[in-house]
């Protein structure tokens, strides 16, 4: 910045702009509104003090933040940039509530699905067990009278004669 061209701050304060002006790098004459907001809310000496207390490499960011706060306050004289903080806090609360609700729905669906799968497995096991029982009972019933046509008396006599001689077939 050439010393013959004053920064917005020095122009507003109607003073000479020295080469080492603290405010000059951050309040160029091309943007007088930026300095006007800052001057109205914080005042020239406060801004200068705030920037002087900071290392040079942090002053640009600090000047941007101070300008943002000042213009927010000019726009909203009651709440300034604090209104944004409140709105964000409310958004966070709403999003958290919605997230908890959605995760609850997912957990419910997963539990339902698990239950259905377990029911299906139990039904399968029951079906297999039932089939096994049916086969067993068929075998049992078909072995009950292997000689349905044989004279029962003859069979008994045969058995008696085998055991009488002391040996069994």
């Amino acid at each position: 910045m050439s010393h013959s061209r004053r920064c917005a701050a020095c122009k507003s304060l109607r003073r000479r702009c020295p080469k080492d002006c603290v405010l000059a790098p951050y309040f160029p004459p091309t943007n007088p509104q930026r300095y006007a907001c800052v001057h109205k809310i914080f005042g020239a000496s406060n801004i200068t003090k705030m920037l002087e207390q900071l290392p040079v490499h942090l002053r640009a960011v600090a000047a941007d933040c101070i300008s943002f706060e000042a213009s927010s306050r000019v726009e909203d004289p009651v709440y300034g940039s604090v209104r944004i903080i409140s709105q964000l806090q409310e958004q966070i609360t709403e999003a958290q509530t919605e997230l908890v609700k959605t995760k609850g729905e997912i957990a419910f669906h997963n539990a339902q699905q698990q239950q259905q799968q377990q029911m299906q497995q139990l039904q399968m096991i029951h079906a297999i067990a039932q089939e096994g029982e049916d086969q067993h009972s068929w075998l049992s019933s078909s072995q009950q009278d292997p000689f349905p046509n044989v004279n029962q008396q003859l069979l008994e006599d045969y058995n008696y004669s085998n055991t009488f001689f002391g040996f069994e077939f």
Binding site: K40, I41, F42, G43, S45, N46, M50, Q53, L54, L58, V61, A62, D64, C65, I66, F68, E69, R73, P77, V78, Y79, G80, S81, V82, R83, I84, I85, S86, Q87, L88, Q89, E90, Q91, I92, A95, Q96, E98, L99, T102, K103, E105, I106, H109, N110
Partner: protein
Amino acid sequence: MGGNSPCASCKLLRRRCAKDCIFAPYFPSDDPHKFAIVHKVFGASNVSKMLQELPVHQRADAVSSLVYEANARARDPVYGCVGAISFLQNQVSQLQMQLAVAQAEILCIQMQQEPVMPTPQMDPDDKSSYLFHDSLPQYLNFSSSSNVIHDSFKRESIFGHDMVS
């Protein structure tokens, strides 16, 4: 405020506390720090001008927000309140992403349960859906990454009433 007991502002400024002192209702003498921090950041005359421009019923809230901003700037001389805004915006973004993932999962579950289904009907007026990240106002248009994360900003209730319109 009685004439015998100057408010915190007049005490600090070492002047007589008038009956109609503009600071007296908001800066009681039992809390000197409150005015001290506001005076340090904004300056007494600027605060006085700001309060005078406001209707009486809004001055208490204005003082609360000025105290909040001044404290933020005292804690973080570089970013001040903007650091808190940046931190909270990140939180909102993260939550919105988590919500989008969870909502997509719900949609998948619903589609699995009803495999023969037309394109899912999404109600554009459904305010419970947070899949509108593009509409989140971007308050900051410069990069700011504060190293000082203020836990108090997460849950601090600044005002006793709902101020968000």
